[in-house]
Amino acid sequence: MIRNYFKMAWRNLWKKKGYSALNIFGLVIGITTASLILLWVEDEVNFDKDIVDKNLVHYVPTNQKYDGEWRTFYSTPGPLAAALKEEIPEISKAARLFTTNFMFASGDQGLNQLGAFADADIFDIYGLHFLEGSAKKAFKNKNGMVLSQKTAALLFGKHQQALGQIVQINKTENYLVTGVVKDLPENSTFQFKWLAPFERFTAGKEWTQGYENNFADTFVKLTPGADFETVNEKVKQILPTKTEDYDTHAILHAANDWHLRSDFKDGKIVGGRIEYVQLFSLIAIIILIIACINFMNLATARSEKRANEVGVRKTLGSGKRQLIYQFLAEAFLTSILAAVLSVALLKLILPLFNNLIDKQLTLGIDEPVHFLSLLGITIICGIFAGLYPAFYLSSFKPVDVLKGSRRQAGSSGFIRKGLVVTQFVVSIVFIICTIIVYQQVQHVKNRDLGMDKENLIELPVNGEIIKNFDPLQQTLTASGMVKSVGLTNSHALSGGNNGSGLKWKGGTNTEEILVSYRYVNSHFMKTTGITFKEGSGFNTAVENDSLNTIITESFAKLMGEGSAIGKRIDRWGDIYTVIGVVNDYLYGDMYANSDPVMFFNSPSEAQYMYIKTNPEYATTEILDKLKATLTIYNPGFPFEYSFLDDDFNARFKSEQLMGNLSQIFAFLAILISCLGLFGLSAYTAEQRRKEIGVRKVLGSSVPGIISLLSKDFIRLVLIAIILAVPLAWWFMDNWLQSFAYRISINWWVFAFAGLAAIFIALLTVSFQAIKAAIANPVKSLRTE
């Protein structure tokens, strides 16, 4: 019997090839889109899945209160980890990490690898798999180093050959390879190429021993069965007992939340990428639904054609249930064909999608999870698309259809219209969202940074750069290709180093204000285009500025009325005199307003070098010069650089991704909706053939017929616009609220989206309308 159903279904599909193609094509788009989104969601949800005992592992951030507001920071004091492990019985392991770049001696160029100084407990917390050596012994030797499999292979050809070898770091220090661990997968929050004992980092650094400085990442592992809330409460108590500072406490951030729930507000998790994951999952479902709607609409629109068959079958003894199965079989067959074609299409477009979202997703249709998901989607589509037509068609009474009396189109017509409206609501909402997301991203990108990010090259400071800075700088500027060279301790766009507890006259609660510190050279402002509002810059002779500072405008305002020049700031006992005020500039969160900044003339602490290039020279030429110069003044270190405007653009990855994807979804939603509309208009034209013939015989013009046929559809699109506008407004308004720096929504966006939908619908419908209108009426009347 089932074979019979499918045989019938196949013949029906084959007989109406155009109609079947519309249906299958719509579903292929739907299933392919949904699969791509689900692959992405799977990757997001599986972040950090390689951590053994993931449920027990937690990161420890600190909440700090400034100006009455709790802010969350990813750094902790050095002794915290040991205190947590010692004083809270539910914490079985605790490790500190300090992440940094090491230059490994390897060939002429050297190899820069990011890694961390860590406590040995990290091996157990992360469940790192040792390929060579063991977790127990790796850090017994204070000069030991554990390499990732890839780095070991890079340095020694094969990772098996690394154990027991000496590696030279930054041309000055030596480490003994005591272990090689398996690489962590791409989708791990925590990435490292090497690990070295934490003590080696803290040795001789007095400032790492107390609770005053936050600099380390702290990870802990709980004992099995420990209650999160109880332990979290205990963790919160620790810091105040050590420092008597009740405005700072540590909290637990579960490994399960690292990737998807990492936005904190007022000290609590408020969301994160999970919002995008949920949003895109919803979009996958919506796209599938509108693809299924096509099937329902075309199937019920065709009911006139199928009614006779239903009548005959019922007369011959078929029950309603058998007919429902028959029509469901058609929906399933369509859905199965669509799924098969989707797999082929996915293979083709997955690399493009990976490129777009910057991931390495694989289709892996042989993986049970993927195969079953696709099967699930196929079955759900089949049921969802087929159920309504099946019930509708199987309910025809044989006596009515065989008598040839018209069935009442009332209910099915209404539902069909409702479904078309639904499709267009979705399409219009997507169009509106696409425009607004694009506007918002552009808005922030065009925001006045307070810096000139163009023609600015950024390099890490390492090796002998500081020592050779003067001749290096002179060589570069003398070439004419470089205008100036600046040094700073933090990345120009990053949050960097900050603190509080400052005192000055004329302000209130000055100790609670969070201020960022930048240790720069005298050319930093000129290089980055930060301009002076008052006063002057630093002296080239550092020692003349040892107690001078330059502050930003917002800081100057906090210091009260009048010029800030000459005012004094007490920073933990050292009194600094303000010699210059510069404009505020943007760093950290690109959507918010940045904290005040205090600059110190201290180039020796620089981590980054910024080079303002002369745009009259070609970039390649400048880079060649830079490389050649650095080979002389910083030999043995790899030449690594980036452009600040690229770094800037990279900060909008999430928004850019959302923008790109919503563009694609908008296009697909419209495409699928139009496929449905195209099919529907074809059937309407066919159904009304006789009417059109009679009208033409009676003298109706071709445009008259076209407008007659198009009018009904356009009315549906108009209803869709009315429904879509408030929906899209509400949704986008909500989204924009999460940005401090945002656009206001313009009315023309809605007008544009509406007109675009009408235009596209008109284009789709008019094709069939024109075809019907120019047909010879004699033909249509004769066949009746």
């Binding site: 068959e309 011959l316 003894g317 078929s318």
Partner: protein, 227 residues
């Protein structure tokens, strides 16, 4: 076999009520061949639909094989129908997507006959109707006469006690029409009861008895001796 008494059927629109059958009574015995005649709109097709258990009467009694079926619901009617009644339509009503074989097989599927038995039974009937060689063709590939023979084959494949034929020659030329009438006569001679609605006096002469209707009522009843 069939006994209807004061059978009534109305059609209602919002404003008008039309009487399709007005207290119609007659009886058909097992093995009879009855023709129903009358002008368009006299209620012939309505009568055939009720006799075929496709429609429900609004009043009166309908006894089929000794059982009162007037009040039966859709499911009960369908069940009785598929085991007892075969239909032949003016427009053949074959399913375009099915082959000749599959069209004829359909009633057997719905009555739950096993595949092997189905095949034998369908072949037997197709042989009898002389369209065995066409069994793999689709309806559109056949002539009108051949299509109607397939329809007759489908009507008889289940060995129904009653065949209802609605203008079976209406869409056929005279030679094809005669072939179909000969087939029906053969079936009747083999014991199947036939009730046929027709406009054709020529076709009616094949029957034993002609019931003439007008405005939902029986006007005359002629018994033909030399059918």
């Amino acid at each position: 076999m069939i006994k209807i008494t004061e059978l009534e059927k109305y059609y209602r629109t919002e404003e008008v009520q039309t009487i399709a059958l007005n207290k119609l009574s007659f009886e058909v015995k097992q093995g009879e061949f009855v023709a129903v005649m009358g002008p368009s709109g006299c209620g012939k097709s309505t009568l055939l639909n009720i006799l075929g258990l496709l429609d429900d009467p609004d009043g009166g009694s309908f006894i089929f094989n000794g059982i009162e079926v007037a009040g039966f619901n859709e499911r009960k009617r369908a069940n009785l129908r598929k085991h007892n009644i075969g239909f032949v339509f003016q427009s053949f009503n074959l399913i375009d997507e099915l082959t000749v074989f599959e069209n004829v097989e359909l009633p057997l599927i719905y009555t739950g006959v096993r595949p092997a038995d189905r095949k034998a039974r369908v072949h037997e009937v197709l042989e009898k109707m002389q369209i065995m060689h066409r069994r793999k063709h689709f309806p559109q590939q056949l002539s009108g006469g051949q299509q109607q023979r397939v329809a007759v084959a489908r009507a008889v494949v289940n060995n129904p006690k009653l065949i209802l034929a609605d203008e079976p020659t209406g869409n056929l030329d005279s030679s094809n029409g005669n072939e179909v009438m000969d087939l029906l006569t053969e079936l009747n001679e083999a014991g199947t009861t036939i009730i046929m609605v027709t406009h054709s006096e020529h076709d009616a002469k094949f029957s034993h008895r002609i019931i003439r209707m007008l405005d939902g009522e029986k006007v005359t009843e002629n018994i033909l001796v030399n059918a």
